[in-house]
């Protein structure tokens, strides 16, 4: 992303879970709506696919396309603490 430091938001968090489960939490509508305040995403989850984010009343809150998607087999993620930054990447351009 370009445009100087103000255009980039980086947040790191550590979650006691597996990377596989975290990946599902970021993608599966039944999963996302439980923690993302009712939000679901409509997407085929492959590069170039359109992406839409829906709020509970059905309106589209944001839209874009999948820029990068890379599922990594994660048995190599060390330790009990997985960081999403280290173990998987998903990028959406809105």
């Amino acid at each position: 992303m370009s445009g100087g430091p103000q255009s980039s938001f980086v947040y790191v968090t550590y979650i006691r879970t597996t990377a596989e489960k975290l990946w599902r939490a970021l993608i599966e509508p039944e999963f996302t709506k439980q923690f993302w305040f009712g939000v679901t995403q409509d997407c085929e989850w492959k590069a170039g696919a359109p992406w839409r984010m829906m709020i509970p009343d059905g309106r589209v809150a944001d839209a874009g396309e999948v820029v990068e998607i890379e599922r990594i087999a994660i048995s190599s993620c060390p330790g009990a603490m997985s960081s999403s930054r280290n173990c998987m990447r998903k990028a959406i351009r809105g």
Partner: protein, 149 residues
């Protein structure tokens, strides 16, 4: 910024009480329960208590600010930085905002705390919400949690 399903009183205690910090701050005992003007101390696991800074503001359970002395070989020439915690209760949760500022240009301490705070705060959240802190990622990342200064 992190949201924790807890009360401001509990979060404030968790940030200032050495018995509590030891449980989630990867074994570090932080004592920051004094009034403004008193010092706050940190004891690493198996180490000695060191004076880590001076409490600038203490307004339980809303706000805490302290200076943060550089104590490690690679950063001890740097000037002290400043940490401020703001706790806002919202719908049975606490929004905890941390601002750590006033670093030297190219500060090593800044690099350390940039890795440390996310790990400490994630562990704090897990600890208060589930009763179980996170494990240190010491073996999987070059710098751990609050360890770097």
């Amino acid at each position: 910024v992190i949201y924790i399903a807890s009360t401001p009183e509990t979060v404030f205690a968790a940030l200032t009480n050495p018995q509590m910090t030891e449980q989630y701050w990867f074994g570090f005992r932080i004592a920051a329960d004094g009034k403004a003007g008193s010092s706050f101390t940190m004891r690493p696991p198996g180490g000695e208590n060191v004076e880590k800074g001076v409490i600038l503001e203490s307004d339980p359970p809303r706000r805490l600010a302290y200076t943060w002395y550089p104590k490690y070989e690679d950063d001890k020439h740097e000037r002290p930085s400043r940490v401020a915690f703001d706790l806002v209760p919202l719908k049975g949760q606490v929004r905890l905002t941390i601002v750590h500022e006033d670093f030297d240009e190219g500060s090593k301490m800044f690099e350390g705390i940039s890795k440390g705070w996310p790990a400490v705060l994630s562990s704090l959240k897990s600890f208060l919400e589930t009763g179980r802190a996170l494990e240190s990622s010491l073996n999987s990342e070059p710098v751990t949690a609050g360890a770097q200064s």
